[in-house]
Amino acid sequence: MSESAPVVLEVRDLKTYFRTDDGADVKAVDGASFYVRAGEVLGIVGESGSGKSVANLSVLRLLPEPPAHHPSGEIFFQRNPTQRLELLRAPLSTVRKLRGREMAMIFQDPMTSLNPFLKVSRQLTEVLEEHEGTGPEESRARALELLSAVGIPAPERRIDQYPHQFSGGMRQRVMIAMALMCEPTLLVADEPTTALDVTISAQILDLLRRIHGERKTAIVLITHDLGVIAGMAHRVAVMYAGKVIETAPVRELFKKPLHPYAQGLLASIPRLDATRREELKPIGGSPPDLRAVPSGCAFHPRCPHRFEPCDKKVPPLLEVEPGHYAACFLHPQDKPPYRGPEEEKK
């Protein structure tokens, strides 16, 4: 991926907290930064509760506010070469006009993400009608074109069916067609294959790869599956307890993970291509409870290398190796801090 391609989305120091009934905050995202360039696939990995989904729902401002609120952060979206919008403080009406048109989202469960009460045609055409004011016939033609582009056989017949008449894989294809109706510049795919079977999941990933190849859409791919990341992403951000704790180009990250959590994750998954039956090296303990995140580095209670500063100070995300950032005290602390894409170019 070209280092000079324009940045489509940049998230800086995002905090997304949920106010609970007793007045305390659940810190789902607690200072996360990442960006994606035009034509790039950014993979975001993390386990449940890492904040990977919430951060991206914040990008589209899809979380109900309250209880969600954002004590800090900026989200910049490049609409076109001249217009850059900050989404977190923008009026919701502005963000709404971007949703589905310039930034589209695909969700995990295709069984529940499509409206069971409406025909597929309605759910596809309404996107164009809403944003471009396109007439019904033209919208339908576009919908048919996209349904066949995402590999739905006999789209003329299928378009007037209801979602329950489609299989899981086919529904996910419909979701993807829906996301592409307005040719968005950014596609956020939140665990798009987690609910699908292996062979169906391979079909969907293949489709996403093809779409990316043809349309050069910038993609943020959220998943817990390191295999999916390895096959799809150009760059990776690893999230833990609401923070990005490591980010690097995909090959670097898999070749030499710098954060003990990323190392642990890679060592703990059984691999289809492992040479012999090695013992898995699990990470001890459990993912943190977001209502009581450990002090300092949130990973320290599970970290095999923890030492003196880990439970007291939060490690900053530093450029430990060129283009490879990690937030861990094991590495020299005199390295330059993460500054986002602008600084990187210099």
Partner: protein, 349 residues
């Protein structure tokens, strides 16, 4: 010694229609002629996609769903057709661990009571049961003090340990594990897999390990059976199955699994299957995989695949390998080649 022998097991669920008087208009062939064997201390992995019948097979074996046809023998005793009271003495030797550690533990009971429940069902004395509970907690790596606490206080991984402790209470010889790690977070899965490997070695347990994650199955199993639409498509020892899959479905399945290595991924070619798994309510005369099979187009000029059901037949691929069975008319065609997407571990090459 053969611990479990399943032969030609069928579980069909009738589809009934009609008003007041029900008549059968079709049947869902959830399990449609499965045969497998499991040795004492062995691990048989059962893989397949959703709807392939792997879970129903497990449930039929332990008597949770009625068997339509076929036989299930445990240590030589026939289990099908047993009445519940006749099943009772056998059930203590065959225990099950379920997928969802959140749903399978009674939230109103303490951990101690949950683990002790099977003991109480088999008339253990109170003090004896209590002692056994503490042993079991040690065994699965939980603190003894947890016996007084309730399931909701624990994380998914810990709950699965509780479920395993309960399954082990009566010192069974066979554990049927239905997707025991798939509901858990990635970093926790390895803890449970390691625990299962360790327990097996220590207690000489046999596992019927059901999962959709081929990498996990590879890690834990000695032998692996791949299921498709209620039938076994291929069955072989672990290394053979993963390195030299002969059934086109197994090949496609293996090539579809992403590997966490960008270098490998960028080189891999995949066999992409077209379409979805057909519904199991249709009677298929020939091979059930024929409608999606990539091999059929180039091999089956005679139209055998649609006319004739391929039997699960032995096909030795590695010298000294006793058991490699495939249900494909044209499996020989795959013999010499390395299928695209397959990953061959160095030690077998």
């Amino acid at each position: 010694m053969t611990l479990l022998a399943v032969s030609d097991l069928k579980v069909h669920f009738p589809v009934e229609k009609g008003f007041l008087i029900k008549r059968e208009v079709g049947r869902i062939r959830a399990v449609d002629g499965v045969s497998l064997e499991l040795e004492r201390g062995g691990v048989l992995g059962l893989v397949g996609e959703s709807g392939c019948g792997k879970s129903t097979t497990a449930r039929a074996i332990i008597g949770l769903v009625p068997v339509t046809e076929g036989s299930v023998k445990f240590q030589g005793d026939e289990l099908t057709g047993l009445r519940p009271y006749q099943f009772r003495p056998i059930r203590r030797h065959v225990q099950m661990v379920f997928q969802d550690p959140y749903a399978s533990l009674d939230p109103r009971l303490t951990v101690g009571a949950i683990v002790a429940e099977p003991l109480r069902n088999y008339e253990f004395k109170r003090a004896e049961a209590q002692k056994r509970v503490l042993e079991l907690l040690d065994l699965v790596g939980l603190a003894r003090s947890y016996a007084e606490r309730y399931p909701h206080e624990f994380s998914g991984g810990q709950r699965q340990r509780i479920g395993i402790a309960r399954a082990l209470a009566l010192s069974p010889t066979l554990l049927v594990l239905d997707e025991p790690v798939s509901a858990l977070d990635v970093s926790i899965q390895a803890q449970i897999v390691n625990l299962l490997v360790e327990l097996k070695a220590r207690l000489n347990l046999a596992y019927l390990f059901i999962a959709h994650d081929l990498a996990v199955v590879r890690h834990i199993s000695d032998r692996v059976a791949v299921m498709y639409l209620g039938e076994i498509a291929e069955l072989a020892s672990r290394d053979t199955l993963y390195a030299r899959p002969l059934h086109p479905y197994t090949q496609a399945l293996l090539s579809a699994v992403p590997v966490p290595d960008p270098e490998v991924e960028s080189q891999r070619k995949r066999i992409l299957l077209e379409g979805d798994v057909p519904s199991p309510d249709r009677e298929v005369v020939g091979c059930k995989f024929a409608s999606r099979c990539p091999l059929r187009a180039r091999a089956d000029s005679a139209g055998r695949c649609e006319k004739e059901r391929p039997p699960l037949r032995p096909l030795p691929t590695v010298p000294g390998e006793s058991e490699h069975k495939v249900a494909c008319h044209y499996a020989e065609l795959s013999l010499g080649e390395t299928p695209p997407g397959a990953i061959v571990p160095a030690e077998i090459e």
